[in-house]
């Protein structure tokens, strides 16, 4: 944020050995009889920012509303700093946990009054805010860049400005646990980064913890120490961003095709969303271009998905019955040359394959295992004019042809170079734009 002149008061004294702020165990919550979240367990430690991601209706909001004490769990426990949540008094809880709702309602208070409300749990019933409280509130406004409209009524502010005011209120509350439901939803790009920075900054400074629901997966990857992935009310993955944000998880949880790459700046996972199987946009660079895949045994399945959602027409060459790539091709409606399993590629199949390759704009050679039966596929791939050779993730390509296949492949790499699976779509896009 802008210059911070007023430091937040130091965090409350908590036993230094107590690293665990929050432990959620077997949490099951229903709303009007419908089970919304089911047996969720996780913990939050001091200094940690925990991201929660998941599709709409996956139970993210219900999860943090339960932790905030706004919903009563059917089953399970929520221990806050070692104390059972149901034993916490309303005001005690409010001094430890702050909650920032997703929807910021309009109301007739000024921004400053709204921020000052964060101090209520720290005051006696008839006690008015003192100078110190006003200083804390004002400092929180400076940190969120809201001090310039401190005296404006909230109903005259924009959605993003309101969201920052609520964030200032959360900071003024000086909680141990910050629960934030999409705190960046209405913010512009600069403030999205600044807000996340601020949350990390606050967590580090006060040795507290934050649970933040985010829709922007890259933002989650970049700013969260760990991520919880929710799907249909269940916790399907938790761990570091690299562990959770995989194309498989994205496909399962969000029904999207995504590329996960290291961000060139932060080195954290960067998620590039290609689209959903249902989309297939005509605006895509891939529209009207054909890519032929030479693959097998699952080596091209992922790319087939990605190319398809990126709008390319995809063909594939010779795939035996029972091959997992063949199944993917069937499902995606990819045209391919078929061969019986465990038998060599016939002449006619090979020429049919060459024909497909000649018609394609690009040919992609996947790092599949090559035996005598499919050796002709490598030969066919060499016919392609615009060839891309995909690197094997572990650097090894299984060869059962006594080196023939590897040699062919090596010559093709010499000719066309090789690229990682994740960068293929970028490369193709660059070609298309040239």
């Amino acid at each position: 944020m802008k210059s911070i002149t007023l430091e937040s008061p130091s965090s409350p004294q908590v036993g230094s050995n107590n690293f665990e702020l929050l432990r959620v165990k077997d949490l099951t919550v229903s709303i009007t009889g419908t089970k919304i979240i089911d047996s969720i367990s996780f913990s939050l430690t001091r200094g940690e920012t925990l991201g929660v991601v998941g599709a709409n209706g996956s139970g993210k909001t219900t999860l943090i509303r339960s932790i905030a004490g706004l919903l009563k769990p059917d089953v399970g426990t929520i221990r806050v700093q070692g104390v059972d949540g149901s034993d916490l008094g309303h005001r005690d809880r409010a001094r430890i946990i702050s909650y920032m709702p997703q929807q910021v309602q309009s109301h007739p208070f000024t921004a400053f009054e709204a921020v000052l409300m964060g101090r209520y749990p720290h005051l006696g019933r008839l006690q008015l805010e003192g100078v110190e409280d006003r200083e804390i509130a004002f400092s929180a406004m400076r940190r969120t860049g809201t001090e310039s409209f401190a005296d404006r009524r909230l109903d005259t502010l924009s959605g993003g400005e309101r969201q920052r005011v609520v964030m200032a209120r959360v900071l003024a509350q000086q909680p141990q646990i910050l629960l934030m439901d999409e705190p960046t939803a209405s913010l512009d790009l600069e403030f999205q980064i600044l807000a996340m920075d601020l949350i990390n900054d606050e967590v580090a400074k006060r040795n507290s913890g934050a649970i933040v629901i985010l829709h922007d997966l890259s933002l989650a990857a970049r700013f969260c120490d760990r991520i919880l992935l929710m799907q249909n009310g269940e916790l399907t993955a938790k761990g570091t961003p690299w562990e959770v944000l995989t194309p498989e998880n994205l496909r399962a949880a969000f029904n999207i095709e995504g590329l996960v790459e290291p961000d060139p700046v932060t080195g954290m996972p960067h998620v590039l969303v290609l689209g959903s199987e249902k989309s297939g946009s005509k605006k895509s660079v891939g529209f009207g271009r054909t890519v032929h895949m030479v693959c097998g045994a699952g080596s091209g399945r992922q790319l087939m998905h990605q190319l398809k959602v990126a709008g390319y027409a995809v063909t594939a060459g010779v795939l035996g019955t029972g091959d997992s790539d063949r199944e993917a091709a069937e499902r995606l409606g990819v045209k391919y040359v078929s061969a019986p399993s465990f038998s060599p590629i016939s002449e006619s199949q090979h020429s049919e394959h060459i024909e497909l390759i000649n018609r394609a704009d690009h040919v992609v050679l996947c790092p599949m295992a090559v035996g005598m039966n499919n050796l002709l596929n490598i030969h066919a791939a060499a016919e392609g004019s615009s060839l891309f050779v995909i690197e094997s993730p572990d650097g090894k390509v299984s060869d059962y042809t006594g080196g023939k296949a590897l040699e062919l492949r090596r010559s093709m790499v010499e000719r066309a170079g090789s690229i990682s699976e994740a960068s293929l779509l970028f490369e193709l896009a660059r070609h298309a734009l040239e």
Partner: protein
Amino acid sequence: MAEDELKTVRYKMTGPSVTQRLFTGAALLGLSTFIVALIAVSVGPFNVPFSNTASIMLDLVGLGDSTADPTERAIIQSIRLPRILLAFMVGAGLGISGGVMQALFRNSMADPGIIGVSSGGAAGAVVVIALGLNTVSGFFLPLGAFIGSMIAMTVVFVIANVGGRFSMATLLLGGIAVSSFLSAITTAIIILTDDLTVQRQIIFWIAGGVDMARWESVQIVSPIILVGVVITVFAARDLNLLLVSEDEARSLGVRLGLIRSVLMILASLITGAAVAFSGIIAFVGLVVPHVMRLIVGADHRVLLPLSALAGGLFLLVADTAARIILSPAELRVGIVTAMFGAPFFVYLLVKNRSRVSML
């Protein structure tokens, strides 16, 4: 030096504190009320010279010994003073309970009778009049009205809690339903009664007024309204949070169900007491909190006490006007509040167009 400058800047941005706003507002309104009350006690259809009024007043507070005429003394002591106090108390009660209801329902169109209290009071009064009990003792009428208010409130609460789940929407709709039902009863009694005098009395009662004020009425109404005001002020901070959002209120430590029930019952008690002794004076509870919100802001720790003072002042001014405009006859105070209050309200709305909101 720099620190001082920063403080000045900060003060300018964040405005005067709650205490400053409260005390400034209370001082101004209190002073105005005192002046208006002095005028009100000095004017009326019966001409009491000001020097006599002053000496009677001083005598009443134990200073000096008035030799004023006993009629003048009776007019000041038994007619004007209780009426002034009742008008102020009723206005204060309506002002604060209107403010509470508007916050609870998050809607500036809410009035103190929103959950059926006024209609209940009217129905109770109508039953007492129809049974002729009001000619037995003057206090059966306010008693009946108060009981009617409380029954209406209880029924609405029971409706809102059906199935063990409290719902504000059900409370509101239940209030509308119960109000309509009670209004139908009132109307039915008016239409079905053969007795014209009963019809007359009901219509006059419903029109509202504090003209029949007695010291006894002041003694009964004041404690209810004062206790209500004090408890409400205790809960003012919770109302602030409630107005922000229910979730935020709860997450900031408000015991939502408890606070809401207590305040709703309290506001209804205050309204019931006001209605019992003055009939239905609708405009005050709706408009005073709204106007005060425009002037002092939405912080209920300031807004509610000042709404009480302003409501009292407003009704006192209106009632004084009602007494003197047609002297020796008088207008119903409800007519005055509407005829003079409404244009003023419209003026404020237009002038503050940008700041007017539905809360």
